[in-house]
C-alpha cells in the first residue's frame, strides 16, 4: 500500500539545501488520495528516533553555580582572604597562648557572615529579576490534529513526528515544519519568523527556490490565520526552521554588559589598591620588627578597610530600584545589569512592525474628486479629518463597505471601534474600521444592500480584481449595484467614467494622468493602494431576479464608473516620532531593520523621523537631479535605504562604511542572519547596540545585541527568552524612558560610589598611622564594618533616587572606552581630597577623646607597645594617672566609636556634596526624601550603636559624651564649602583645569 511512510524520511540532519529539497520533493495527487498517515507503530518508532517535537530549552547555568559566583565574585575573594587570615591568626594564637583573645575568631566569623550575607542578597536579587521570564511561559500544551492509520486524532504537539500527516485550520498554530499537500484558502502569518505581517497564502505548489518564500511550506510555531490545509511533517523540534534559529540564538556568545565591565574595572582598581597597601604594610611591619602574627592582623585590617563591603550590594539595590521604576513605565528588565546598558546605548536597531508602527493596517489616504484626502491614522483619533460631505465620498464609502468580507466579531459594541476585533484580512479590516468610523453602521448598509453574487479575490485569478454584486433595496430603485475593488490600474482599465463631485464624467486623459499621479504618490508613501469602482446596472438588461453566474461571468464587468482610491498603511505609533527625536538629541542613532518592502520601510522611516525631514537617500538625490544613481556621491546622502539582497553582497568594509557614513539608515527585506550582521557591524564600530524585535527571526540579533528588547504583547516566546528587557506595551517610546533611566542610574551610581569610596580613607589611615607611628588604634575593624555595611548603606542607596542634574537626554551617549564609571578623577576627589578631610575629622575626634581622658597627643606617638601590652597595668598618662589594660582599652574603643561617629558626621556633608557633580546643592535642592531619611537613619544608627546597652560587649562600642559628636563638625562644614567652591569653579570655567582634574 502506498502511504506516506513510503517517503521514508531519512535521519534529520539539517543540511543546507535540504529544506529546499523538501519543498520540491515530488508529491503527486494520487499520493495524497491514498493518504492514510503513519501507522501508530511507525510514529512511535520515529518519536523514539527523533525525540519529541519541542525546542530544547537553552542551557541554563545551574543555580548553585550562580550562587557560588555571587559568593566568590567581586570583593568576596579579598574578604575570604581576610576571614581565612583571621582564622589562621586565631589558630596560631590558640596554639601558642594559654588564653587566646577571641578577637580574631570573632572578626573571622563576622567577615565570613558579611561575605555570605551579601552573596545571598545579590543572588536573591538576581534570581528575582530572572524569575520575570516564568510569567511569560506558556503552560498550555499545544495540540495537533494528525491523521494516523486513516483516522484523525488529536495529539499533543510534542508527539508529532516526521512523516505525520497533519491538518491545520484557521487559528491553529502550526505544529511542525510541514509541506502542504492540500489547502483551501489557507493563509499563514509568518510574522514571527520573517517579520512580515501580511498573511501569506499556502498551496501545494512550489513557487520559489527559497524555502522561506515558497508557498508549499508552513513553519513550526507560525499561525494559520484562515482556511485549512493538510501537510506532511518534514521536520520536528530543533530541526525546524524555528528550532534552528533558536539554536543559533542560544549558541551565540554574548559579551559582558557595559556596567559589568565597569564594575569589574572598578573592582580591579580597589583590589589593586588593597593588595598593594596590604602587602606594602605587611612587609613594612615585618621590617619594623612586628611579629608575623601582628603583621597578618595588620594585613586583615587593611583589607577590611580598603574593601567597600557594602558597595556591590548598594549597586545591586540601585539597579533593582531602577528596574522597578522602569517596570512601572512598561520596561520589564530581565537582567539587572541591562538597566544601565540602555543608558549607554549609542545605536538602536529597531524592528518596524509593532514597535514603530501600530501593527494594524489603517486607511491613510483617499483619492476622490481628483484630490488626495488624508484620513486620521492616530491611535486615539486625535488627528485631522477630511471633508466627509462629498457625495463621491459617500459612494466610495459604500463601495468600500459593501465590497468587503471583513466584519466585527460579536459582542464588542461597547469597545471603541479601533479596539474591536475583526474577522477578515488586514486591508479589509482597515477599510471596515475606516468606514465604520466616518460613516457608521456598516452592518445597516450591508443589510440594506443584500449580496446577490460575489467573485472573491483569488490569487490564481490574474485579473487581481474582486468584485461583488449587490441588490439595491431602495423601494423606488430596482437596479443592481456592482461594486468592485482591486489593484488600481486593473480597476481603471475597466472604467470608462469617473465620479467627480457626485457626477459621472467621462474618463479623459487628463483625469487619467491625475489618477496616475495620485497612485504614484500614494504608492511612494509606502502605502498599499486599492481602487474602487461601481456601476448601477441598467434595469432593462438586469431585471430583478437576474441569475448572475460568477464562474462564467454573464454580466457587465467593463465600462464601470471609477469612484476613488484608498490607501492603507500600518501607521506609526503616535509617540514614536517624538521618541525618535529624543533619541536623536540624545545622540543615539536609530536604525530601522525590517523584513518589509523598502518603500514601505522608507515611508515609515520618514514618518517617524528615522529619516529626518530634508535628508535624502542616494536615490532621492538621483531623482531630484535627474542623474543615474551611480553618479551620485554617496557621501552627499546622509540617509540610506538598503535592501537585504544588496546587503548580501556587501563586504565587511563596505558595511562599516555605510554604518559610519550614514546617520540615518533603513535596512529593508532583511533576514535573521542579516540582522545579526548589522548588529555585529555596529558593535565592531564600537557602538553599544540595542535591538528591538518581536519575531523569532529577531532573536539571534536580540541575543547578540548589548541589550535585546523584546515586545511583551506581540513578541514570541523565543524572542522574549533571548532578550534582556521586555517592553510590556510594545511601544518604542518606552525605550526612551529606559534610556533616560539607564543614563540617570549611571550618573547616580557614580555619585553613590564616590560617596562610598570616600569613607575608605578615614578607614585606612588609622591603620597606617597605627603601624607607622605606633599610636593606639583609632578605628577598629568592627567599626569599619559598621560604617560600610551600616551607616553608609542607606545614604548610598538614596543617591540612586537623585534627580538628573541637567537634561541627560540632550547629551551624547557615554563612550565606553573613555567615560568610565570610576575614573582617576573620582578616585582623586574621593581618596585624595574629601577622604583626607574626613580622615582629619576622625583623627581630631580621636585626639580629643584621648586628650580629655588624659592622654595628650604628644605622648601618644610610640605608646602603642605598652598600650597593647596586656601585662602593663599601670600605664601612665600625661597627668600621671595610671591605667590598667582594660581601662585604657575602653578609652580606645570609645575612640573607635567617636571616630565612627565622626565619619558619620563627615559623611553627612559628603552625601550632600555627592548629590551633584556639577550643580550647586542650592540649585539641585533637597527634594530627595530618601536621602533625607538616609541622613536621619545613619545618625540614628550611629547613636544606637553608641548608646544601646550591651553594645560594649557585642561590638565594643561605648557611649560618647555629647560634645564628642561635634568634633568633626568643622570638617563636615569644610567638605561642604570645599566641594561647593570646586563645583562653582567647574561651572564658571567649563573645560578649565578644575573640571579636567576633578569632574568625575
Amino acid at each position: 500500500m502506498h502511504t506516506w511512510v513510503a517517503i521514508n524520511l531519512p535521519k534529520y540532519s539539517y543540511l543546507p539545501g535540504e529544506l529546499h529539497a523538501w519543498s520540491t520533493f515530488p508529491i503527486t495527487l494520487t499520493d495524497i488520495k491514498l493518504l492514510d498517515g503513519l501507522t501508530n507503530a511507525k510514529a512511535a518508532e520515529y518519536l523514539i528516533r527523533d525525540g519529541p517535537n519541542a525546542l530544547t530549552p537553552p542551557p541554563t547555568t545551574p543555580e548553585w553555580i550562580k550562587f557560588c559566583r555571587q559568593l566568590f565574585g567581586g570583593f568576596s575573594v579579598l574578604l575570604w582572604t581576610g576571614a581565612i587570615l583571621c582564622f589562621l591568626a586565631y589558630a596560631i594564637q590558640a596554639a601558642t597562648e594559654d588564653d587566646p583573645a577571641g578577637d580574631n575568631l570573632y572578626l573571622g566569623i563576622v567577615l565570613t557572615a558579611v561575605v555570605v550575607i551579601t552573596g545571598c542578597f545579590s543572588y536573591f536579587q538576581e534570581a528575582k529579576s530572572s524569575k520575570i521570564m516564568e510569567s511569560f511561559k506558556n503552560m498550555v500544551p499545544q495540540q495537533a490534529l494528525v491523521i494516523r492509520e486513516g483516522e484523525k486524532v488529536q495529539i499533543n504537539a510534542e508527539e508529532v513526528v516526521g512523516g505525520d500527516l497533519v491538518e491545520v485550520k484557521g487559528g491553529d498554530r502550526i505544529p511542525a515544519d510541514i509541506r502542504v499537500v492540500s489547502a483551501h484558502g489557507c493563509k499563514v502569518d509568518n510574522s514571527s519568523l520573517t517579520g512580515e505581517s501580511e498573511p501569506q497564502s499556502r498551496s501545494p505548489d512550489c513557487t520559489h527556490d527559497n524555502p522561506l518564500e515558497t508557498r508549499n511550506l508552513a513553519f513550526f510555531s507560525t499561525n494559520c490565520v484562515e482556511g485549512t490545509a493538510r501537510g506532511i511533517v518534514i521536520c520536528t523540534g530543533d530541526r525546524t526552521v524555528m528550532g534552528r534559529i533558536a539554536t543559533l540564538t542560544s549558541g551565540l556568545e554574548t559579551g559582558k554588559t557595559p556596567i559589568a565591565k565597569e564594575i569589574e574595572h572598578f573592582i580591579h582598581i580597589i583590589t589593586g589598591v588593597a593588595v598593594f597597601l596590604g602587602l606594602t604594610f605587611f612587609i613594612l611591619a615585618i621590617i619594623l620588627g612586628y611579629s608575623w602574627l601582628e603583621a597578618v592582623i595588620f594585613l586583615i585590617g587593611i583589607i577590611v578597610a580598603n574593601v567597600p563591603e557594602g558597595l556591590l550590594a548598594t549597586v545591586t539595590v540601585c539597579l533593582t530600584l531602577t528596574a522597578k521604576r522602569m517596570a512601572k513605565k512598561n520596561c520589564l528588565v530581565k537582567n539587572l545589569e541591562a538597566v544601565e546598558t540602555l543608558g549607554s546605548t549609542s545605536t538602536i536597531c529597531s524592528d518596524k512592525t509593532g514597535t514603530l508602527t501600530q501593527n494594524r493596517m489603517t486607511v491613510a489616504h483617499m483619492w476622490f474628486d481628483n484630490q488626495i484626502h488624508e484620513a486620521d491614522t492616530t491611535e486615539d483619533q486625535s488627528g485631522a479629518s477630511f471633508d466627509k460631505s462629498s457625495v463621491t465620498w459617500l459612494s466610495l464609502a459604500r463601495v468600500a463597505a459593501l465590497c468587503n468580507r471583513a466584519q466585527f466579531k460579536a459582542g464588542q459594541d461597547q469597545l471603541p471601534i479601533l479596539k474591536r476585533d475583526v474577522a477578515g484580512d488586514a486591508s479589509e479590516s482597515a477599510l471596515l474600521k475606516c468606514i465604520e468610523l466616518s460613516c457608521g453602521a456598516v452592518r445597516a448598509m450591508r443589510d440594506k444592500n443584500k449580496k446577490v453574487a460575489e467573485i472573491p479575490f483569488n490569487s490564481t485569478n490574474k485579473y487581481q480584481v474582486s468584485h461583488r454584486l449587490y441588490y439595491r433595496c431602495d423601494l423606488n430603485d430596482n437596479r443592481y449595484l456592482l461594486v468592485m475593488k482591486g489593484a488600481p490600474e486593473r480597476i481603471l482599465d475597466r472604467c470608462s467614467t469617473i465620479l467627480i463631485q457626485g457626477k459621472e464624467q467621462p474618463m479623459d486623459e487628463e483625469l487619467k494622468e491625475s489618477f496616475q499621479n495620485a497612485y504614484m504618490e500614494l504608492g511612494g508613501l509606502g502605502e498599499r493602494v486599492l481602487g474602487f469602482c461601481h456601476v448601477m446596472m441598467p434595469e432593462d438588461q438586469y431585471p430583478k431576479g437576474f441569475a448572475f453566474d460568477t464562474d462564467d461571468v454573464n454580466f457587465q464587468t467593463d465600462n464601470l464608473c471609477f469612484v476613488g482610491l484608498m490607501s492603507m498603511i500600518d501607521p506609526p505609533r503616535a509617540a514614536v516620532p517624538d521618541a525618535v527625536g529624543k533619541c536623536r538629541s540624545a545622540g543615539i542613532k536609530v536604525i530601522m531593520v525590517t523584513g518589509d518592502h523598502p518603500i514601505t520601510a522608507k515611508a515609515i522611516a520618514k514618518g517617524v523621523g528615522i529619516i529626518s525631514e530634508g535628508n535624502e537617500t542616494v536615490e532621492d538625490i538621483a531623482a531630484r537631479l535627474n542623474i543615474p544613481v551611480s553618479q551620485v556621491n554617496p557621501r552627499d546622502a546622509k540617509a540610506c535605504v538598503i535592501h537585504g539582497t544588496d546587503l548580501k553582497d556587501l563586504s565587511q568594509d563596505q558595511m562599516d562604511d555605510i554604518l559610519r557614513n550614514h546617520t540615518e539608515i533603513v535596512f529593508a527585506r532583511t533576514s535573521p542572519q542579516q540582522k545579526l550582521i548589522i548588529v555585529e557591524g555596529c558593535q565592531r564600530l564600537g557602538a553599544i547596540v540595542a535591538v528591538t524585535g518581536d519575531g523569532v527571526n529577531d532573536s539571534p540579533a536580540l541575543k547578540k545585541a548589548d541589550i535585546g528588547v523584546a515586545m511583551g504583547i506581540s513578541g514570541s516566546d523565543v524572542s522574549k527568552q533571548a532578550a534582556d528587557m521586555i517592553l510590556l506595551d510594545d511601544n518604542f517610546a518606552s525605550i526612551v524612558t529606559g534610556v533616560e533611566e539607564g543614563r540617570l542610574i549611571f550618573d547616580n551610581l557614580k555619585k553613590s560610589i564616590a560617596y562610598t569610596l570616600t569613607s575608605n580613607i578615614p578607614e585606612i589611615t588609622p591603620f597606617l598611622l597605627f603601624i607607622i607611628v605606633n599610636i593606639p588604634l583609632p578605628l577598629g575593624t568592627i567599626t569599619i564594618l559598621c560604617i560600610d555595611l551600616g551607616t553608609d548603606m542607606v545614604p548610598a542607596i538614596s543617591l540612586a533616587y537623585e534627580a538628573a542634574e541637567s537634561d541627560i537626554m540632550k547629551r551624547q551617549p557615554r563612550n565606553p572606552f573613555r567615560d568610565k564609571l570610576v575614573n582617576e578623577r573620582l578616585i582623586s576627589i574621593a581618596y585624595g581630597q574629601i577622604g583626607m578631610i574626613q580622615a582629619l575629622g576622625g583623627f581630631f575626634a580621636y585626639f580629643v577623646i584621648l586628650a580629655e581622658n588624659g592622654f595628650l597627643p604628644t605622648q601618644l606617638v610610640g605608646i602603642r607597645l605598652n598600650w597593647d601590652d596586656r601585662s602593663v597595668n599601670d600605664l601612665e598618662d600625661s597627668y600621671g594617672q595610671q591605667w590598667t589594660y582594660e581601662q585604657r582599652k575602653i578609652v580606645e574603643f570609645t575612640c573607635h566609636t567617636a571616630f565612627f561617629v565622626s565619619i558619620v558626621v563627615v559623611q553627612w556633608a559628603d552625601v550632600i556634596v555627592c548629590k551633584t557633580r556639577r550643580n550647586s546643592v542650592f540649585q539641585q535642592g533637597m527634594r530627595n526624601k530618601i536621602l533625607i531619611f538616609g541622613l536621619f537613619e545613619e545618625t540614628a544608627l550611629a547613636a544606637f550603636l553608641s548608646y544601646c546597652p550591651g553594645m560594649d560587649v557585642a561590638l565594643r562600642m561605648y557611649p560618647l559624651k555629647p560634645s564628642w559628636w561635634f568634633c568633626a563638625f568643622p570638617y563636615s562644614f569644610l567638605i561642604f564649602v570645599y566641594d561647593e567652591v570646586r563645583k562653582l569653579l567647574i561651572r564658571r570655567n567649563p573645560g578649565g583645569w578644575v573640571e579636567r582634574e576633578t569632574y568625575y
Binding site: N853, S878, Q881
Partner: protein, 279 residues
C-alpha cells in the same frame, strides 16, 4: 583572517602599555606631561598644607581648652588597678642560682630608688590616718607625704639586698595605680591568698598591708611632682613543701569601697600572679 587582524592590535597594545609610563611623542610620564604633573602636585601640596593648617588650628583649640593639672574626664578611671613589682605575673627562679633571680632583684632595686631616704627627706611627714588635703592652698604645687624604703622593713632591700630571693622567701611589692583625686574610704589594706591546700605564711610591710590615707588624694603629675605611691610588700614565707610548685597568689585591696571583683578587668583592685621557686 582573524590572526592577521590581531597582530597589529597587540603591537599597538604593547606600545600603549609602555606609553602609559613614558610616551616619548607627547613627553607624558604616567599619562601626564611634566607641567600637568607639576600643577596637580602643586595643587595637592597647597591643599594638604591648608588641611594641615586647619588640623593644627583645631588641635590648638583643643589643647588650650585643656586643664594642665587635671584631665577633663576621669570617669574611665573610677577605680585604681593593682600592680606588682617585679613586673612579672609569672615568676620562676632557682633560689640557689643568683643568675635566675637577679633580674627581679635589680628590678626591685631600681624601682625603690625613688623611695630612698635622700629623695624622701624633702617630703612631709604627714599625719597618719587622714587624707592629706591641700585644696585650700593657692599654690598649685602640692606637697607630698614621704614614704621611705625603710617602711618596707625586710623587703626594703636595705638589710637583705636580695629581697629574700636567695633564701626562697621572695618579696613582692604591690602598689595601687595613681588616680587624681581618689580618696578611698575606710582603711585600705592589701590581703594576699594562695589558692592551695595549706595556707602559706606571709609577712606584710607596713604591718597588716595597710595603705595609709595620707597618701590620698593625688593631685596630678604637674602639681604633685614629688608624690610617691604608697607600697605594700608581701614576703612569701615559703617552706620546703612549697618549692618546685607553681603557686597562684591573689592579692586584693580590702577594707574600702574600691572595686576588687570586676569581671572584665582582672587588675582592678586585685592582681593574680604565679610564683615558682625551685630549690
Amino acid at each position: 583572517m582573524a590572526s592577521t587582524e590581531d597582530k597589529p592590535a597587540t603591537k599597538e597594545n604593547t606600545s600603549s602599555w609602555k606609553d602609559s609610563f613614558y610616551n616619548p611623542r607627547t613627553g607624558e610620564v604616567m599619562g601626564r606631561t611634566a607641567s600637568s604633573w607639576a600643577l596637580i602636585l602643586l595643587f595637592y601640596l597647597v591643599f594638604y598644607c591648608f588641611l594641615a593648617g586647619m588640623f593644627a588650628l583645631t588641635m590648638w583649640v583643643l589643647l588650650i581648652s585643656l586643664d594642665d593639672y587635671v584631665p577633663k574626664y576621669q570617669d574611665r578611671v573610677p577605680h585604681p588597678g593593682l600592680v606588682i613589682r617585679p613586673n612579672s605575673l609569672d615568676m620562676s627562679f632557682n633560689k640557689s642560682d643568683p643568675l635566675k633571680y637577679v633580674q627581679y632583684v635589680k628590678h626591685l632595686e631600681s624601682f625603690l630608688q625613688r623611695y630612698n631616704d635622700s629623695q624622701q627627706d624633702n617630703n612631709e611627714d604627714c599625719p597618719r590616718g587622714e587624707y592629706f588635703l591641700q585644696d585650700d592652698t593657692e599654690d598649685m604645687n602640692k606637697k607630698a607625704c614621704l614614704f621611705k624604703r625603710g617602711f618596707l622593713s625586710l623587703c626594703s632591700g636595705l638589710s637583705d639586698t636580695n629581697f629574700g630571693y636567695s633564701e626562697g622567701k621572695p618579696c613582692v611589692l604591690l602598689k595601687m595605680n595613681r588616680i587624681i583625686g581618689l580618696k578611698p574610704r575606710g582603711d585600705p589594706y592589701i590581703n594576699c591568698t594562695v589558692k592551695k591546700e595549706g595556707p602559706i605564711q606571709m609577712q606584710y610591710f607596713p604591718s597588716e598591708g595597710r595603705i595609709d590615707k595620707m597618701y590620698f588624694p593625688y593631685y596630678g603629675k604637674k602639681a604633685h611632682e614629688n608624690y610617691v605611691q604608697p607600697l605594700v610588700a608581701v614576703k612569701l614565707l615559703l617552706t620546703k613543701d612549697d618549692y618546685n610548685k607553681e603557686l597562684p597568689v591573689e592579692c586584693r585591696v580590702e577594707g574600702t569601697d574600691l572595686r576588687n571583683n570586676d569581671e572584665r578587668d582582672k587588675f582592678l583592685g586585685r592582681v593574680t600572679f604565679r610564683i615558682k621557686v625551685v630549690e
